[in-house]
């Protein structure tokens, strides 16, 4: 029982960290667009994987790939439409998108989602055990994504994004197309979120529309700001925060009433932490984007 609890915590930690990386290191950090409803793509991945496995009785791996293609197609569509929007309009569009996805999943499969999704085998290994699934599937995906996110800093593409964020017209004069870079990284981020959604479905063996509410999305997004925009370590800290804090609170408060109020206490803690962080560390815990500012204010 203890081991099962631990594996579920580790698994959701990896998946939520991936989701935060897909927002932080691929979209917010690069384009400074705020996809507040990004969890919609997580929902698409999870829902499509569930539908393909349960209704179409496809191989789970095939279902995962098909749902990735679905997410890719939708992100291309959304990216081309919204990438020219100014920041605040993009936020509103993103929230609306998340809400559309949540309502449609509820409309199609009911508020309880789907249950009884079987995990696939991998080259003869039964992935029914959580630990096998974590080490053979989640960890490689996690490391691969972190590697790609890390590669941004080692290639000219990172400084191109910095230019596009700050002076779009100058990027145009350098023959760099801002829309190409913005849409490209948006699609990358959305595809990763879609895969994460699919893996989450396989991991929990069910889909749940309550994980893709706008409240959840804002929570995940708050962790991006908390950890530090455009920082991989910041994303990992954000992932730890969103998974560990509720668990710690759940087990540390032993008052009989407290279990009832845990959710509220967690929200209280998050709000308090976010206020403290924004007041004292405006760039987030691992914020690097403000370093030039600190060095110039020393004069």
């Amino acid at each position: 029982m203890e081991s099962q609890l631990l594996s579920s915590i580790i698994g959701s930690l990896l998946l939520y960290t991936l989701l935060i990386i897909s927002i932080n290191n691929f979209i917010v950090g690069k384009t400074s667009l705020w996809p507040v409803g990004h969890i919609g793509f997580f929902g698409i991945g999870g829902f499509l994987t569930g539908v393909f496995i349960i209704d179409a009785a496809l191989n789970p791996w095939l279902a995962l790939i098909l749902s990735l293609l679905g997410g890719l197609a939708i992100s291309v569509l959304i990216g081309v439409i919204t990438i020219r929007l100014r920041s605040d309009y993009f936020v509103i569009f993103s929230i609306a998108f998340c809400e559309i996805i949540r309502s449609s999943t509820i409309y199609l499969k009911g508020p309880a989602g789907m249950r009884g999704i079987e995990r696939p085998g991998l080259m003869g290994i039964d992935l029914g055990n959580d630990w096998y699934f974590i080490f053979l599937v989640l960890l490689p995906v996690f490391l691969g994504t972190v590697f790609i996110a890390y590669r941004f800093y080692r290639t000219p593409i990172e400084r191109i994004f910095a230019l596009v964020r700050n002076h779009e017209y100058v990027a145009r004069l350098y023959t760099l197309s801002p829309n190409y870079y913005k849409i490209g990284t948006f699609i990358l981020g959305c595809s990763i979120a879609t895969i994460v959604g699919g893996l989450y479905t396989l991991f929990t063996r069910s889909t749940d529309p309550s994980t893709i509410t706008i409240y959840q999305s804002i929570m995940v997004f708050a962790m991006v700001i908390f950890g530090g925009i455009n920082s991989i370590r910041g994303s990992i800290i954000g992932g730890l925060m969103i998974i560990i804090i509720p668990k710690i609170l759940e087990y540390s408060i032993n008052h009989p009433l407290s279990t009832y109020y845990t959710a509220q206490i967690v929200q209280l803690m998050y709000g308090l932490l976010l206020i403290v962080i924004i007041r004292f560390m405006p760039g987030g815990i691992m914020g690097e984007s403000m370093r030039w500012f600190y060095s110039s204010s020393e004069e």
């Binding site: 790609i148 590669r151 941004f152 290639t155 000219p156 593409i157 400084r159 191109i160 910095a162 230019l163 964020r165 700050n166 002076h167 017209y169 100058v170 145009r172 004069l173 350098y174 023959t175 760099l176 197309s177 490209g184 990284t185 990358l188 984007s289 370093r291 030039w292 500012f293 060095s295 110039s296």
Partner: protein
Amino acid sequence: MTPTILELKNVSLKINGSTILRDISLNGDQGNIYGIFGSNGSGKTSLFNVICGLHKLFTGEIKYYGLLPHRVDPILISKLGDGIARSFQVPTVVNELTVLDNLLLSHRFQGDGFLSLIYRRKSDILLEQHATEEIEIMLEKFKLKDKKNEYAGALSYGERRILSILATVLTNSKILLLDEPFANLNIYMIDSFKELFHYLKEKEKRLIMIIEHSPDYLMDLSDYYCHLHAHTLHQYRSNRITNEDFIQMFKSFHHTYD
């Protein structure tokens, strides 16, 4: 006979019914420096914007390297021929990048796309190394070499201006449009820039257009004076006129204000 690489024919620009540029024709020859003067609001910066494609709604035609772009688009225009680069009145450096990164931005590497995230070709890495060496030589000249790994946001306003002009030059475009490059710089830096522009003109045969308010800086530099007055352009060959002529010319244009 130097080839004409920039050709403006009857270019006019109207914004909300008010005339910004009226019927401007100009031939830009390779290996020449054009000093563009004019009072505030006479349309000097707008002329640059029109040339590099930032203003789309103009009439007339502009040919770059003898080519007419099928669409007015800064990306398309800067890809024509040997390229076109422009600096702005305000520094356009990226504060959150280092000095070196800011200058590397103006170089275009083959593998700038998303595939470079997975694999970068050896040739691209070599290209970047060469560019870095070239940039270090340039930084040495402008006394910024010690600061090459500092954030551009930590530099002073003047240093950031130098940086953005250097970035324009380092694009290796044959047409350079510089908007007040000498403003806010000390006299030594101005001399260094004059030396650089002279080198670019003589050795690399570039076409340089410089907007400036004070003709003093450009007296010994420019081959042509272009005077924008009442939205129209008047062009003079500089070796034909003396200093006194120049002052007379300015006065004659500005007699309406006296």
